[in-house]
Symmetry: C2
């Protein structure tokens, strides 16, 4: 059975891509087949795994336009059990093109449905927006991971995301649940981080992952080498954070 | 004469809002009348100046719908010479509503044109996307500030932004120039920051601001008190960074 998990937050720079790439790599190395879907026109997950986003190849955009079969677009990466459905900058056009299509919210669900038996996990990296691409991801997912930077603005934006989540549950995907809120880039030396962590734990109770990802420069360096952090510097605190998250998710069964 | 400057970058979390709020406050305290336009549905600039984004008041969204006159929406903030055109979460609807309107790219230009004599500077905070809201900001601006986090993914996204900039210059606003690339959240202890800074300077030459904004926790704390950093902790390195940027921009005349 495949679990499809969207990784979304309209606040920018909170660690969505970093979570997709490194959780994906962690689950892959633990022996689970993982497909990473890059649904962001920035194509950061694609380049974070070492692929040039400018290279012409079938990607999510050509799939949304019905120009390609999904099997031809999936890339087998050099990392254990980790496959990638790449993005490219053309995907920006989908934000407009999808709007007047039939069942526009379910296009991604249709594209991914032939794959649902092939993978244990499908992770979807979303753009920093509550646009039609993110709605497509939420409409086809079983659950949602919300990365949350330990910063004031990030905390502020949560209520908007939760409102959209409720709408999606009501109208498009009744089964969608919160997998968890993941606190990222935490710096235990600052009061701000500690305040945000406390506030999130009070508000979300057991929906907050026990794992908190620390700020760690290796997480910023790894993408420039086209590798998840566990393949770049496995002994780093950043790698440890995402390996802990992997274990926490696997323990839920 | 009013200079309208858009602050944009589709990469999320690079310091767009932080730059608008703190450069706006710097220019205001130096005696220049400034209007800050919050064009992001996240409304971070609105809350960063101490206003509750959920409060019902006329904002950019009602102006784009032609429901309100701009004079009624502008807020005079408690900070010297700094006015705000607030945002609210409804603005997300504009991303779709604007698409089938006449001259949809020039809606913001029309809204702001009666104000052009009242301010020395108009700063426009853009959402993390190259959508119709950001296009509206670019279509009505004299120049563009590109905040760039000293990170790999941020560097990667520049070429996409420059392509859109060229298109806007060609089709919508021939006079649009780059005011400068602003390096943000730099951490001189890490190689990554130094590498990104070097690469950006090589590529953009004199288009890179001499001022580099260091990573400084006070910049993250100030918004939770609803204040620009120069009114929260003036002696901090974050405040110094934005005061230097203010001087650099004023020196250009
Ligand atoms: N825990 C961490 N420690 C240090 N740096 C991090 C950490 N997590 C992410 N980063 C870096 O911070 C930046 C933002 O992270 P990332 O790009 O993953 O966020 P995002 O939410 O996907 O951004 P966007 O909203 O643009 O899609 C990146 O340059 C990344 O390398
Ligand atoms: N120089 C800095 N040092 C430390 N923290 C900073 C700095 N600049 C910005 N921040 C913090 O980093 C986070 C991202 O900055 P900000 O929200 O201004 O970016 P943005 O580009 O406007 O994000 P978005 O793409 O979501 O609009 C915020 O929490 C902010 O307080
Ligand atoms: Mg991302
Ligand atoms: Mg912002």
């Amino acid at each position: 059975l495949t679990r499809t998990i969207a990784v979304a937050n309209q606040k920018g720079g909170v660690g969505k891509t970093t979570t997709c790439v490194n959780l994906g790599a962690g689950l892959g190395r633990a022996g689970y087949r993982v497909l990473l879907v890059d649904l962001d026109p920035q194509a950061n997950a694609t380049s974070g795994l070492g692929y040039n986003k400018r290279e012409t190849r079938p990607g999510v955009y050509s799939l949304l336009r019905g120009e390609e079969r999904v099997e031809r677009a999936v890339i087998k990466t050099p990392f254990f059990n980790l496959h990638l459905l790449p993005s490219n900058p053309d995907l920006t056009a989908s934000e407009i093109e999808l709007l007047d299509q039939e069942e526009r919210e379910y296009r991604l669900r249709k594209i991914l449905s032939p794959l649902r038996g092939d993978y244990a996990y499908i992770l979807i990296d979303c753009p920093p927006s509550l646009n039609i691409l993110t709605i497509n991801a939420l409409a086809c997912s079983d659950s949602l991971i919300i990365p949350l930077q330990c910063e004031y603005y990030a905390l502020e934006g949560l209520s908007q995301l939760l409102e959209v989540l409720d709408l999606v549950k009501e109208r498009l995907n009744a089964g969608l649940e919160i997998e968890g809120v993941l606190l990222t880039m935490s710096d235990s030396r600052t009061n701000l981080s500690l305040q945000v962590i406390e506030e999130v734990k009070n508000h979300f109770q057991d929906k907050v992952f026990k794992t908190i990802i620390p700020r760690n420069i290796r997480l910023g360096e790894a993408p420039s080498f086209g590798k998840p952090v566990i393949y770049y510097e496995e002994k780093s605190t950043g790698a440890a954070g995402y390996l802990n998250l992997t274990d926490e998710i696997l323990a839920r069964g």
